[in-house]
């Protein structure tokens, strides 16, 4: 079957604009993660969804960042009033409930001018 998909693959926006990044997890995967990867850096955890449980939002860097997951499937990460320091690759991963293996999407490269 298809892997994790993310859209858009690239997004260029102006400082102060809002952006929405989309993640389509593998069908049947109940766990979904968002990470941020700055140039040449490791992955920074942002948020974790598991089934119908309350999401773990402990990694969101500010209240400009929010995410939702509709119907336990597709997830959208929203960044309001983007800043230049938000420029990074945003990665989404999904896994089966309590499984050990995360499957990553190709990421969305966000550039804030």
């Amino acid at each position: 079957g298809a892997g994790v998909s993310q859209s858009p693959s690239n997004k260029v926006t102006e400082k102060g604009k809002d952006v929405e990044l989309r993640c389509d997890p593998i069908s049947g995967h109940t766990a979904l993660y968002w990470y941020r990867q700055s140039l040449g850096q490791g992955l920074e955890f942002l948020i974790y969804f598991q089934g119908n449980s309350a999401p773990d939002k402990s990694g969101l860097p500010s209240d400009r960042f929010s995410a939702e997951r509709t119907g336990g499937s597709v997830s959208t990460l929203t960044i309001q009033r983007t800043q230049q320091e938000d420029s990074a690759v945003y990665l989404c991963a999904s896994s089966l409930a309590k499984s050990d293996t995360q499957y990553f999407g190709p990421g969305t490269r966000l550039t804030v001018l």
């Binding site: 490791g42 992955l43 955890f45 974790y48 773990d56 402990s58």
Partner: protein
């Protein structure tokens, strides 16, 4: 706070040589110790992983060595090949309620032909 320290930051190895990457973690409960491989423009992919009840796991040319008392685990790539050139991340998973992975800062490996 930095819970995971990965070294070296970069590594150059001759074809056929052994690549060794280390990961040290601080006083946090982790129950699963994976290594991820990432090629440019792609999301990370699980390479090999170990649980804390074993000290070593081997899969083909890749071996994880785990030292629970020292809070360290390492990735060994035997007979390194140019196709192994990638960035490698350790990403131990926490046990504190959510399946949260803490990624190291990455090691950029280059295998010379």
């Amino acid at each position: 706070q930095q819970q995971v320290k990965q070294s070296p930051q970069s590594l150059i190895v001759q074809k056929g040589g052994i690549s060794i990457i280390n990961c040290a973690y601080e006083n946090t409960a982790f129950d699963y110790f994976p290594w991820y491989q990432q090629f440019p423009g792609k999301g990370p992919a699980l390479l090999i992983a170990i649980r804390p009840d074993v000290s070593e796991k081997k899969e083909g040319r890749f071996t994880i060595s785990f030292n629970k008392s020292a809070k360290q685990f390492s990735l060994h790539i035997m007979d390194s090949q140019p196709g192994d050139s990638a960035t490698y991340f350790c990403a131990p998973r926490g046990t504190s309620g959510t399946y949260k992975y803490i990624f190291g800062t990455g090691t950029r490996l280059k295998v010379l032909a």
